[in-house]
Symmetry: C2
Subunit: 345 residues, 2 copies
C-alpha cells in the first residue's frame, strides 16, 4: 500500500465513515449541548492539529462554539494544568498513541470534564482514556504522510457540525462529498501537468483563510513531508502585513480560494501576487471569477459549499504533492527522516 493508493481510497473511506458513524454522531453531538459546556478544547498534533483548525472555524461559524486549540505540553503529568472548567475536551489523533494527548484527557477526567476522541484506532490509549469515541473507520494508514485519515477527520468534524445544526441543506452537501472527492481525483492528470511545470520549486508560500486556513497549513505540511518544499502557510489576513516581504520575483505562491465571489481584498492581493511572483501563482479555486485567467489553476468541483470545500481542496493538494515528489525524483512513500507514530512526551 502506498501514498498513491491511500489518496485514491478516499471516496470509499468517506462513504464508510458517513454510514458507520451516523447513529453515533447523533449521540456525540448531544455532548456539546450538555449543561455546563461553554466551549471546546481540542488537543491534537501534526495533521490532526490542522483538522482542529477546521473545527475551530466550522463549529465557530455554524454552531456558535468557541474552540481553543490546547497546548498539550501544559498538561504534563505532575504539573499544574490549566483549569478546564466549562470545557468539553476533544482529542483528534490518527494513531491514538500520543502520550501528551493522553495527558490532556487524563487531566480532563481528573477535573470531571467530558471527553471525546476522534481517532482511527478505537483500541488505542487515546480512545481508552476518552468518555466517547468517534472512529474514523479509514483502515490502516501505512504511508507516513497522512491523507485518508486527514480527510476522514475533517468529515468527522463536519458530521458533528451538521448534526448540531440540524440543517437539511448541510446534510445533503455532506452526502455528496465522496462524489466530489471522486471528481477531484479525476483531475489528477491536469494536476500532474501543473506539478511537472513546477518541478524545480523548492519553496512556496501557501495562503488560505477562514475554513481554508486548515487547507493552507495541511498543504504546506504535505509539501514539506513529501516533496522537500520549504512551504510556509499563512492566513491571507496576516500575510500582507509582514511575511509578504519574502516574496521576491519568481517566488511561488499557492493560494486556496473559496467558492463564491472573491472579496475585494482577496482579489487585490491575488493580482498583486500574480505580478510579483512572475505568474508563479497556483490557485485551488472554486471561484467563478476571472482571477485565474492565465494562471496555474486547479478548479474545485462545482456545487461544494464554502464550509465543505476543505475536503476536496486538500485532495487537490495531496495529488499535487505526490506528483511533484515523483517529478522531482523523490520517493513519496519514504520521506527523509520520518517515522509514522508520534510519541511526543
Amino acid at each position: 500500500v502506498s501514498l498513491w493508493d491511500e489518496i485514491n481510497e478516499q471516496p470509499a473511506v468517506l462513504e464508510r465513515l458517513l454510514r458507520a458513524e451516523a447513529t453515533n454522531v447523533a449521540r456525540l453531538a448531544a455532548a456539546f449541548r450538555t449543561r455546563g459546556v461553554q466551549y471546546v478544547v481540542i488537543a491534537a498534533r501534526g495533521s490532526s492539529d490542522n483538522a482542529a483548525r477546521y473545527a475551530q472555524y466550522l463549529w465557530g461559524a455554524r454552531n456558535r462554539i468557541q474552540v481553543a486549540l490546547a497546548a498539550p505540553s501544559l498538561f504534563a503529568p505532575n504539573g499544574s494544568s490549566p483549569s478546564l472548567d466549562g470545557a468539553l475536551v476533544v482529542a483528534i489523533s490518527q494513531s491514538g498513541e500520543s502520550p501528551d494527548l493522553v495527558s490532556v484527557l487524563v487531566e480532563a477526567r481528573n477535573q470531571g470534564r467530558p471527553t471525546i476522541a476522534i481517532t482511527n484506532a478505537p483500541d488505542s490509549p487515546v480512545a481508552a482514556t476518552s468518555d466517547q469515541i468517534l472512529t474514523l473507520n479509514a483502515g490502516d494508514e501505512r504511508a507516513i504522510p497522512a491523507t485518508k485519515t486527514y480527510t476522514a477527520e475533517l468529515l468527522a468534524v463536519a458530521m458533528l457540525s451538521v448534526e448540531m445544526a440540524q440543517d437539511a441543506e448541510m446534510r445533503s452537501s455532506l452526502t455528496s462529498l465522496p462524489d466530489q472527492v471522486r471528481l477531484m481525483l479525476e483531475r489528477s492528470t491536469r494536476i500532474q501537468q501543473l506539478a511537472a511545470e513546477l518541478r524545480d520549486i523548492d519553496r512556496a508560500a501557501v495562503l488560505g483563510r477562514g475554513f481554508h486556513l486548515s487547507t493552507a497549513f495541511e498543504w504546506a505540511l504535505k509539501l514539506q513531508e513529501t516533496a522537500e518544499v520549504l512551504a510556509l502557510p499563512f492566513s491571507t489576513a496576516d500575510f500582507e502585513h509582514g511575511p509578504i516581504a519574502i516574496v521576491s520575483p519568481g517566488f511561488p505562491v499557492f493560494a486556496v480560494v473559496p467558492p463564491g465571489p472573491l472579496s475585494e481584498d482577496m482579489e487585490r492581493l491575488l493580482l498583486r501576487l500574480r505580478e510579483e511572483s512572475e505568474r508563479r501563482l497556483l490557485l485551488v479555486t472554486g471561484s467563478p471569477g476571472e482571477i485565474g485567467h492565465g494562471d496555474l489553476e486547479i478548479k474545485l468541483p462545482s456545487g461544494v459549499p464554502a464550509w465543505a470545500a476543505p475536503i476536496p481542496a486538500i485532495v487537490a493538494g495531496q495529488l499535487f504533492c505526490r506528483h511533484l515528489a515523483v517529478a522531482k525524483g523523490l520517493d513519496p512513500d519514504a520521506p527523509r527522516h520520518l517515522r509514522k507514530v508520534t510519541r511526543t512526551r
Copy 2:
C-alpha cells in the same frame, strides 16, 4: 528613529512600563478572577499574536488559565459569532487600529462579557471598545517590524501573571528584566559576528517549545520581514514528526533552548540537527550544558527563569535579524512591500 534605535530603547521602555502600570495591573488581574470567568479568549494579529502565544503558556503554566487564541474573522459584523459564555476577552494590538479586533470586542460587549485591551495606543478604536486598558507606554514605534512593542506586550502579559500568582520570586525576576535586556544588548558585537558568518542564508527552520514557541514564531517573522529569510517556525514537538524532512545537508536551523538542564528528547534532536545541518545550527541558549560546544551560540544572561526568558531571547533574535539585514545589504528600516498599520477586515 530607526529599527536599531528602537531595539536599543527596550530597557528604558520595560522600566517605564513596570513603573507606570503597576497599580493598574493589580486592578486588571482581579478581572481574571471575576465570578463567571472560566477561560480567556485572546484576539491579536502578527507579532501581537506571538505575545498571545506567550500568554497561553505563561497564564496556563503559572495561573492555571486556559487560553483560546481567537479566529478574529469569525467575529465579522452581521455574522453569527461564537458564544463567549465563560470568557474574559483580551485584545493585544500595538496600534489599536485593527477593525477585526474591534469586531471581537464589540461582540464581547454585546454578549455582556468583560474585555481588556493591551495596546500602545490608549486613544485607539481597540482601546475605546474595551472595558479596561493596559497601556504599553512604549512611545511611538516608527520602524515597521515591531520590536519594543513586542517585548512590552510580553512584559504586560508577565506582569498580569505575577500579579495573579502573588509570587515574590516571580516579582523579583520581573524587576530584573530591563537589566537582563541590557546585558543582551551588550552581546550585539558577538551577534553581529554570527550574522556575518551566516550572511548567505536565505532559509531557516526556527525551533522552540513551551514558553519559547512565541520566541520561535516571532524570530521567524522578524527574519521574514527584515532579512528576507524564508524562516519556518516550529514547535520542537511537531518538528520531528514531519517537517524535519525539509532539513537537507547545510540547511540552517535556529533553536531557542530554555535555561536549565536539557530534556533527553531535546538533546537528542539538537545533536541530530547539528549533524544534519552540517553545523549550521544556531542556538539561543540559557542551558549550561555541553550541547553548544563548537556550535554557533548566543548565551542568555544567567539568572533568568524559564518563564521570563522569552524577553531577553527575542532581543537576541531582533539583534541577529538587524545585523543580518545589514550584512546582506538590505535596509532593515524599509522592508519590501510593508506598511505599518494592519487594517484587516
